[in-house]
């Protein structure tokens, strides 16, 4: 028997190796999801660790029959993020400094100059993202950083899948508009 049984309702329990594989796979995605919202690297790392630790603690409650692991994990991430926001209630929304806090950004550009430009673009994009309504920020983060499908996002946020699609459309429109406004002095 490759899977063990978990408490109460006969939930399939993941093997240690499966858990490790899943966490190694999802760690960068969770980190990116957090980094989309938190410009400070150490703060983002702390929150990511908190999310993963919480997920490990409550691993027994994961029921594969109810949904994908990604949905379960990002629901934990979403709740952790909400709690994090509450803790930071007194502070202003994140302010992204251009070129700052981007040392962990992966640059695929062939030359350093292009990489710097790319980083600046990303920083600008994230700065504009931070101006969107929280719900739109959340959905874009889950969609593009967490790489969840619209259906998975709908499950995480208890929304309609079509509503998620439309929200992504509107959020991207708004983000594009913001970027255009920044580019045109």
């Amino acid at each position: 028997m490759s899977r063990l049984r978990a408490e109460g309702e006969g939930l399939p329990r993941l093997e240690v190796s499966e858990v490790e594989a899943l966490f190694r796979e999802y760690h960068p995605r969770v980190y990116a999801y957090v980094r989309y919202r938190i410009p400070d690297v150490s703060e983002a790392e702390d929150l990511t660790s908190e999310i993963l630790e919480r997920a490990l603690t409550y691993l027994a409650s994961y029921d594969a029959r109810k949904g994908a692991f990604s949905t379960w994990l990002f629901r934990i991430a979403h709740n952790a993020w909400v709690n994090h926001l509450k803790r930071r209630q007194r502070q202003n929304p994140y302010h992204v400094d251009l070129g700052a806090g981007m040392e962990d950004l992966v640059a695929h550009e062939p030359t350093p100059e292009q990489a710097v430009l790319h980083k600046e673009e990303i920083a600008q994009m994230l700065k504009c993202l931070a101006t969107l309504p929280p719900r739109q920020q959340e959905i874009l983060s889950l969609r593009f950083a967490g790489r969840l499908t619209n259906r998975e996002i709908a499950r995480v946020l208890n929304m309609n899948e079509r509503t998620v699609s439309v929200t992504i459309l509107r959020a991207l429109r708004k983000l594009r508009q913001q970027l255009v406004e920044v580019d045109t002095p």
Partner: protein, 270 residues
């Protein structure tokens, strides 16, 4: 097509483009949708690499989880709702349970063992109580016996009838309780002393002054319920009386001024 429907159609087209699908029709060729799709891809291409410290921290979390899982063993119990995890045991407790299971038969479940233990304790307690009662009764009875050689013919000689007990009150009357006759186990006395019955006699219904003679010749006032040993002399004073009960159920009444000695009873006159 109203705004809402248009938004849904655009969102669908965008989904298709973001998902790398074709065939969203003319809408997917829309410039705005193309731009939004490009923006979405740019967002999706943003990748962050966690620092080495953070990676190490996550690895430590996974290592701790692995150790925790290795320490724990899962035990299953087949219940009405199917297999379920009942507890997490350390290897030591699991070995102990396995050892106990090998040692005890299968039917001896803890519940049965507990009930049996309680029943055994109750039985032991009752036995102890019964033993204590018997021992106390034995201690209360004076030991000693030597054969009594009082002839029945002499003893059946009732020197004088005892006065009515209710009518007579003597200041010297023994007020100590008659343990043997009043005890709840008095009915068992004949059984308890059956080996000695032929040599002893029970002195009871004592009224007034009744004395027995000790080995040194002195007379001692006796209380109720004494066993008269072989060779002992018993005498009653004036206005006194007693009754001797023998093993075979026969009785001898001692009237006032009577003395029984070595199988004889005679009146001291009076």
């Amino acid at each position: 097509m109203n705004e809402r429907q248009k938004a849904k159609a655009l969102a669908q087209a965008l989904d298709a483009l973001l998902g790398g699908q074709e065939g969203a029709g003319s809408i997917s060729a829309d410039e705005e949708i193309q731009a939004l799709s490009e923006l979405g891809r740019s967002l999706g291409n943003v990748a962050f690499t966690p620092s080495a410290t953070h990676q190490a921290q996550v690895e430590r979390l996974l290592r701790e989880h692995r150790v925790q899982r290795e320490r724990a063993s899962v035990k299953y119990e087949s219940g009405a709702h199917g297999l379920r995890e009942v507890d997490m045991e350390t290897p030591t407790t699991q070995k102990l349970k396995e050892f106990t299971a090998r040692l005890l038969p299968e039917w001896l479940t803890p519940r049965v063992a507990f009930s049996a233990g309680v029943a055994l304790s109750l039985v032991c307690t009752l036995l102890l109580i019964a033993g204590g009662v018997a021992r106390r009764a034995w201690r209360d009875v004076p030991a000693a016996p030597e054969p009594v050689s009082v002839s029945e013919a002499d003893l059946e000689q009732d020197v004088s009838p005892l006065p009515d007990p209710s009518a007579e009150t003597s200041p010297a009357q023994d007020t100590t309780p008659n343990i043997l006759s009043e005890a709840p186990y008095a009915a068992l006395l004949p059984l308890m002393y059956s080996p000695l019955r032929s040599q002893h006699a029970l002195l009871q219904d004592i009224r007034g002054l009744v004395e027995i003679q000790a080995d040194d010749g002195t007379w001692t006032w006796v209380s109720k319920g004494r066993i008269i040993e072989a060779g002992q002399r018993v005498r009653t004073a004036e206005l006194s009386g007693a009754q001797l009960v023998f093993a075979d159920g026969s009785t001898a009444r001692l009237g006032p001024g009577t003395e029984v000695s070595g199988g004889r009873a005679h009146s001291m006159g009076g």
